[in-house]
């Protein structure tokens, strides 16, 4: 039981105080609420992106499909990619990072709680801005990679929405990246050295640094694209001496680290799930950590493998072919360590475990096709065909999305105090696995048979029809499996809530978040734990019996040890207050963006709103705050 007392501070309007109720969601700066906001929003966008996928697959199920014309198809497949990457996988990863990084390191919140809220609102408004394009002249239609010079000369408004929308969401992610990086470095519990930090948190740190250093590159590219379209510049205009290849370099310099941004969170989740459901520590923890760092680092050095067919020449192609082959190594290290974790373990095949194993296996398939792309002459056959589509869906969907769903089943009890139905979860898993492989497996074949990407139809004479039909069936099975997941959520929440004690640590897990109640109180921990080892919570619950070497329960009470950091308990826990300024400041973004499209007055208004928001933020409380 905790009492929350709020100090009123000077400000223009009365500072919000509520931490419950509808309006509290607009003023929250609590990482847990923000995590839930990210997660819910991501899932809504997932469904939208999934519907776009079904439209694509329905159009392509038969040759000369008439469901979508070419122009509509271009918008749908472009928005499908943008949605899944920027509005689903990244925000859902952000949801998990936001909710669980502070808990897993024994902190009460992130380093900059208001900046955290700002990141969420800017992301949401950026996503809505992107989708408003459908009603305002046409959605982006240039592919998620939006190559110049097509993007420059496209007469529709789509690519402009693309540039502005991704600049907005990029700002959200950059702010979040700096926030979470500082959190991991600077807010670990006493005794939690870097090598006692859970792998999920390590992957979080790597991902934030990847974001911080790769997003500026695409931001510049997007501004250059925007200026070429709106202000007559010539960055990518060949008629004035510009070079469209510059776009490709800038885009993929970001784009390749981006794919590791997409998959490393899921790798982190898998690294948490497997040990719990094998009742064994992660095999080779240090190798898993170092390989994650290596992937992040080398990931900056392979970008031009997306440009093998762009005419860079044999020297560049060879260099990037080699670096790409090298990056397979740390990934392989992780795979072997995960296998080592399972080997000899006391395995429990819960839904979370199934999804984690699914992640590993599906990613290996995608990784193998990736290795075939590394061979440049082989890539010449594969590039721009459905073989590539198969590859990246195996690694992103098979890798990242399966892992994220594993995280859902694993952590749902902690977040909501309820267990998702394991029966429905398993059904979801198997249906999704079958549907996924039916949808994307045949695409390897289709690609090698010559089916080209990004094209709204294909003629009957090419003999591509059968596998397209199979793929479409698979897509609908995936949709059915997601429906099962949603049913699971509804059914779980319709039931009576279980006793809090039953769901605090339902999996008999290893890391600190399971020490808190389910859901945790607003301050996370009554007392900040002092950490003595990796898997600290596990070691508080179990010790090795000296004679038998077997694990036995530790002495009762040790699980809530009393050697805690005295700063945490008893005399008042200081938490930052809710605030509406991050939301106000975020409103400036879409106003500025619409202003670029329609009216300079709107740009001015947006800038003013943002400025007011930032000043209000900076000046609350009355003493200049060191919180951003």
């Amino acid at each position: 039981m905790s009492t929350v007392t709020t100090a009123r501070r000077e400000g223009i309007l009365r500072r919000p105080t509520a931490t419950t109720g509808f309006w509290s969601w607009f003023t929250t700066i609590d990482h847990k609420k923000i995590g839930i906001l990210y997660g819910a929003t991501a899932l809504v966008f997932f469904i939208v992106g999934g519907l776009e996928a079904l439209l694509i697959r329905s159009q392509l199920a038969q040759p000369n499909g008439t469901l979508l014309n070419a122009d509509q198809y271009n918008q749908i497949f472009t928005m499908h990619g943008i949605t899944m990457i920027f509005l689903f996988v990244m925000p859902l990863s952000a949801a998990f990072f936001n909710y669980f990084i502070p808990l897993m390191i024994g902190a009460r919140d992130v380093a900059f709680p208001r900046l955290n809220a700002y990141s969420y609102w800017v992301f949401l408004l950026g996503g809505l801005f992107l989708y408003s394009s459908f009603f305002l002249g046409g959605a982006p239609n240039c592919g998620w990679f939006c190559y110049a010079p097509n993007s420059i000369f496209d007469p529709t408004v789509g690519p402009t929405f693309y540039a502005l929308g991704l600049i907005i969401t990029g700002i959200a992610s950059t702010a979040g990246a700096i926030n979470l990086a500082v959190t991991v470095i600077n807010m670990r519990a006493p005794g939690m050295s870097f090598f006692r930090v859970p792998v999920f948190v390590w992957m979080g740190l790597v991902v934030q640094l990847l974001l911080a250093f790769s997003l500026p590159i695409i931001t510049v590219a997007l501004f250059e694209l925007l200026f070429d379209r709106e202000f007559g510049t010539h960055f990518f205009d060949p008629t004035a001496g510009g070079d469209p290849i510059l776009w490709q370099h800038l885009f993929w310099l970001f784009g390749h680290p981006e794919v590791y941004i997409l998959v490393l969170p899921a790798f982190g989740i898998v690294s948490e799930i497997l040990p719990v459901f094998a009742r064994k520590p992660l095999f080779g923890y240090q190798f898993v950590v170092f390989s994650g760092i290596a992937i992040g680092f080398i990931g900056f050095g392979v970008w031009a493998h997306h440009m093998f067919a762009a005419g860079l020449g044999p020297v560049a192609n060879t260099a990037f072919g080699v670096s790409t082959a090298i990056i397979a190594i740390p990934t392989g290290v992780k795979i072997f360590n995960w296998m080592g974790t399972l080997y000899g373990g006391d395995l429990r095949f819960t839904s979370a475990m199934l999804f984690a194993i699914g992640t590993v296996t599906m990613f290996v398939i995608g990784g193998l096709s990736g290795v075939t792309h590394t061979i440049v002459p082989s890539d010449y056959q594969q590039t721009d065909t459905y073989y590539i589509v198969a590859h990246f869906h195996y690694v992103i969907f098979g890798g990242a999305v399966f892992g994220l769903f594993g995280g859902m089943y694993y952590w749902w009890p902690k977040v909501f105090g309820r267990m998702l139905s394991d029966r429905l979860g398993k059904l979801h898993f198997w249906l999704m696995l079958i549907g996924f492989n039916l949808a994307f497996g045949p695409m390897h074949i289709l690609g090698l048979q010559g089916m080209i990407r990004r094209t709204y139809t294909y003629p009957a004479s090419l003999g591509l029809t059968f596998w397209n039909e199979v793929a479409t069936v698979g897509a609908f099975l995936i949709a059915l499996s997601i429906l099962l997941f949603l049913v699971n959520v509804v059914v779980t929440h319709a039931k009576a809530r279980p006793e809090s004690a039953d769901v605090a640590d339902p999996w008999d897990a290893r890391t600190l978040e399971w020490m808190a109640t389910s859901p945790p109180p607003i301050h996370n921990f009554d007392e900040i734990p002092t950490v003595h080892a990796l898997d600290e919570f596990w070691h508080r619950k179990y010790v090795e019996d000296e004679r038998t070497g077997r694990l036995v329960p530790a002495q009762a009470g040790a699980a809530n040890g009393h050697d805690e950091d005295p700063h945490g308990g008893g005399h008042g826990i200081h938490l930052p207050s809710p605030s509406y300024w991050p939301f106000v400041a975020s409103l400036g973004m879409p106003l500025i963006a619409y202003g670029v499209l329609y009216s300079w007055w709107l740009v001015g208004l947006g800038a003013l709103v943002a400025l007011v928001g930032f000043y209000g933020w900076a000046l609350e409380p009355s003493v200049a705050s060191e919180d951003a």
């Binding site: 380093a111 926030n179 640094l209 010539h234 004035a240 930052p576």
Partner: protein
């Protein structure tokens, strides 16, 4: 479960001791941010360097640049870095008067720089260099424009600190916010050091001349 009273309150202190590393959150964040800004300006500078000498139409840099003029501008910005660090020094010595003096001077020097750029851009515009004229216009205005916007944001922050010191809204030890703004300000200065060299001082051959296309 302990009965805990949670107090809601303001932010951490400047060198809040309770960070894992002992380093300030804000200072750490600022350096990560500046690292990421290197990637931003790097991309813009790369674009400029890539397109150097590739304009297919005039005016070209040699026709337009007024090196003495821009040199004065560069000295102004460099001087502002010095006054910035003097402001910080004064703040660390709790010399409020000097602190305000140097803060204002830095802001004024910054405004002079921006003003100088505005004048320069206007002059170039009247000599026929627009954003859309050629690659030189494209890359020049966007690179220096991005930099100028960064300087302007810095000036706003400096004037805010100046104003806050009179409204008694700075902490008792004001050196921390000044140090943070100072880091940003110096970064903006070092970007200009690179831009001044790469864009203005390193000669760009005009087409038809030696080394041109």
């Amino acid at each position: 479960m302990a009965d805990v009273a949670i107090e809601r309150g303001g932010g951490h202190g400047a060198d809040h001791p309770e960070t894992t590393t002992g380093l300030s959150h804000t200072k750490l964040a600022m350096w990560v941010f500046l690292g990421s800004e290197c990637m931003l300006f790097g991309a813009l500078i790369t674009t400029y360097v890539l397109y150097r000498g590739r304009s297919v139409a005039p005016p070209y840099p040699a026709d337009i640049f007024d090196i003495p003029y821009t040199s004065v501008s560069s000295f102004v910005l460099l001087a502002s870095s010095l006054t910035m660090v003097l402001a910080l020094s004064a703040a660390q010595q709790r010399d409020e008067g000097r602190m305000r003096l140097w803060l204002l001077t830095t802001a004024l020097l910054g405004m002079t720089f921006v003003g100088g750029q505005v004048y320069e851009f206007t002059a170039f515009y009247h000599e026929g260099l627009k954003l859309s004229t050629n690659l030189f216009g494209t890359t020049f205005y966007v690179l220096t424009g991005f930099h100028g916007v960064h300087v302007t944001v810095g000036v706003l922050m400096l004037l805010s600190l100046f104003g806050m010191s009179f409204a008694d809204r700075l902490p008792e030890d004001p050196s921390f916010p000044i140090e943070m703004v100072g880091l940003y300000w110096h970064f903006v200065d070092i970007v200009w050091i690179v831009i001044f060299t790469v864009v203005y001082l390193i000669p760009t051959p005009s087409p038809g001349g030696p080394g041109g296309p």
